[in-house]
Amino acid sequence: MTENLLQPSGRSAARQLTNEDYRIEVQTRRFTALYSRNARAVISRGLRATKSSNWLIMVSGFFEPVLYLISMGVGLGALVGTVVGPGGEAISYAAYIAPALLAVSAMNGAVYDSTWNVFFKMNFAKLYQGMLYTSLGPLDVAIGEIFLALLRGAMYATGFTAVMGLMGLITTPWALLMIPASVLIAFGFASFGMAITSYMKTFQQMDWINFVMLPMFLFSATFYPLSVYPQGIQWFIQTLPLWHGVELLRQISVGTFTAATSIHILYYLVMILTGMVLTTSRLRKLFLK
C-alpha cells in the first residue's frame, strides 16, 4: 500500500490497475447509501479542530449559565430569599434556578450545534461537502456531529455542576446525576435540531429558531414555579420539552424522585427516538442536494 503512486518508477508494470481493480463487491447492509459505520472519523476530526482553534468559543459556552446564575441566583436571589423546592423543602433561590439554567444551557448548546453549526459547515465552510466526497455517508456525519455536541454538553454540565458545588448549592450526591441527565436533554434537542436545519435555506429562516427558543427559555418554569400560570397555560407549558428538562434536573438536584421523574425521562426518550427517525429521513435533503 505504501508504494509511490505518483512516481512512474514507483509503480511496476505488475501494479498497473487491471480490470480486477475496477470490480467492487456489492454490500447489502441497511443504510449502505447513507452510512459507512465510520462516525468516529468525524468525531476525531472535531476533537482535532477543537484542539487547534475553538477554545475561546468553548469557554464562552461554559460561562453563559454561570453568569446567569450569579446575576439572577445571587443578585436577584438576595431579594427573593428562600423558595419552596421540588420536595417541599425551603431552598435558596439560586439553588432553585441553578438546575433550570443547566437545562437551558443543555438545550441552547445542543440546538446551536445541530442548527447554526451544521448550517454554517454545510453552506459556508463547505466542510461536509468535503467529507461527503469520501466513504463517509450523511448518517456518519450526523452521528459524529451529534456525539460531539453531546460531549461538549457533558463538559459544560460537569463544569456547571462544579460551580454549583463551589457555591454551596449542592446538598446531595444525587445532584451528580444532573450531568448525564443534561446529556439526555441535549440529545433530545440535538436529534430534532438537525432535522429542522434540513428545512432551512437562508440565515433569515435560521433566526426563527431563536424566536422559538427565547420564550421557551423564559417561560418554562425556569425562574418561578408553573403554578403562577392559569391552568390552560400550565398545560401548554407542560407539552414543551424544556419544561420537562427543567423539572427533571430540579428534582435530581435535591434528590427528590416522583412518578413525574419517569415521565420527564420518557418524554426525552421519545423525543430522541422521534428526532433521530426524522433526521435520518431528512439526511438526503440536508446533505445531498
Binding site: M1, L6, T32, S36, R45, A49, M131, G137
Partner: protein, 313 residues
C-alpha cells in the same frame, strides 16, 4: 464508439437529468467511460459539468435517468463507490480548522484508512504537492496555488481508481499547471481513470483521450480532441483584427475567403485549410488588418462552431 459490453465501462450514464426547480442543469445526457480512459467534459461555466461530477460522486441526486459507477448506483451505494473515487472540487474545500498535514490525515480517516498507512502516504503526497515545508502551517496561510495543490494531494490519499477533477488548474500559474498535467499524465499511465471538467481547451487537448462538449446541460459533440477538430473545424484559422469598430463591417468585404467566416466583436476568424493563402487573398482585396495570425484549429473553434459562443467569456 468501441463495441464493448456495458460491463467494461467504469462510468455509464443514460439519459442523466438533473433539475433545480424548472431549470435543467443537466438535460438528458448519456456517455460511457472505459477503465483507464481520460475523459473530459468541456464547456463554459453553467454548462452542467459540476452537477454531472456531483452526481457521479453520489452527492447530488439525479432527477431521472440512470448512472452506474463501477457497476454500482452512486445514490444507493455512495460510501462504497466513493471509496474508489478521488475528488478535486471546483472550489477548494480544505478544512480550515486543521493544519496542512492534518488535512491529509483526517481526510484519509474519512475513508477508514489506518494511520500506519496514512502517515507515510501523507508525507509522500506533501512531497508531491511541494508542500513538505508547510506541513505544520495553517491552511489559510497558504497561497491559492498551494491550496489547489493540497486539494489535489488530498484527493489521492485513498489511491483512487477514478479521479474526478473539476476545473483542476483554474487559478494556477502556467508552470504549476504543467507540473500538474505531468502528474495527472503519470496517474493515467498507471491505469487511473480521469474525469476532467475544464473550460481550457489546451487542458482538454493535453489530457483527454476523449471528451464531450457540453452546453446548457446538453452534449453537443463527442470524440477525441483531434476528431472533434477535424469534424467541426478546419485545419487552420486566420485571425484578423481591424479594430473593434471595423471588425463587423469589414467582414462583409471578406466574404468568399476560406471555408467559413466568423466575425466576433474583437476579431474576425477565417476558417481555412491554408491560413497563409487566405491572408494573401485578404491583402489582395486591399484590406490591411492591424494584426493577423495563422494558427491551428483548437477546441475553442469547435465550441464556437457548435454553440455560436466563445468558451471563456
Amino acid at each position: 464508439m468501441p463495441t464493448s459490453t456495458p460491463r467494461d465501462y467504469v462510468i455509464s450514464a443514460r439519459n442523466l437529468t438533473k433539475h433545480y426547480g424548472d431549470f435543467a442543469a443537466v438535460d438528458d445526457i448519456s456517455f460511457d467511460v472505459p477503465a483507464g480512459e481520460s475523459f473530459g467534459l468541456l464547456g463554459p461555466n453553467g454548462a452542467g459539468k459540476s452537477t454531472t461530477m456531483r452526481m457521479i460522486g453520489g452527492v447530488s441526486q439525479r432527477t431521472s435517468g440512470s448512472l452506474t459507477i463501477m457497476g454500482l448506483d452512486p445514490e444507493q451505494h455512495g460510501p462504497q463507490v466513493r471509496a474508489h473515487l478521488g475528488v478535486v472540487p471546483q472550489q477548494d474545500n480544505l478544512d480550515e480548522e486543521l493544519r496542512v498535514r492534518d488535512n491529509l490525515l483526517v481526510y484519509g480517516r474519512y475513508f477508514g484508512l489506518p494511520m500506519s498507512y496514512l502517515k507515510p502516504k501523507a508525507d509522500e503526497l506533501l512531497e508531491f504537492a511541494q508542500l513538505t515545508d508547510k506541513a505544520k502551517s495553517k491552511v489559510d496561510s497558504l497561497s491559492g496555488g498551494m491550496k489547489r495543490r493540497l486539494t489535489i494531494a488530498r484527493s489521492l490519499i485513498n489511491e483512487p481508481k477514478i479521479l474526478l477533477l473539476d476545473e483542476p488548474t483554474t487559478g494556477l500559474d502556467p508552470q504549476a499547471r504543467h507540473v500538474l498535467w505531468d502528474r495527472l499524465f503519470r496517474l493515467k499511465e498507471s491505469g487511473v481513470t480521469l474525469i476532467l471538467t475544464t473550460h481550457y481547451m489546451d487542458e482538454a487537448e493535453q489530457l483527454c483521450d476523449r471528451l464531450v462538449v457540453v452546453d446548457k446541460g446538453k452534449i453537443m459533440a463527442e470524440g477525441s480532441p483531434a476528431r472533434l477538430i477535424r469534424e467541426h473545424s478546419t485545419r487552420e484559422v486566420l485571425e484578423l483584427r481591424f479594430g473593434s469598430e471595423r471588425n463587423t463591417t469589414v467582414a462583409a468585404e471578406l466574404q468568399g475567403i476560406g471555408d467559413r467566416l466568423e466575425p466576433l466583436p474583437d476579431r474576425v476568424l477565417i476558417y481555412t485549410h491554408d491560413g497563409e493563402a487566405a491572408l494573401e487573398q485578404v491583402t489582395s482585396r486591399g484590406l490591411h488588418p492591424i494584426t493577423s495570425l495563422v494558427r491551428r484549429s483548437s477546441l475553442e473553434d469547435v465550441f464556437l462552431r457548435l454553440t455560436g459562443r466563445s468558451l471563456v467569456d
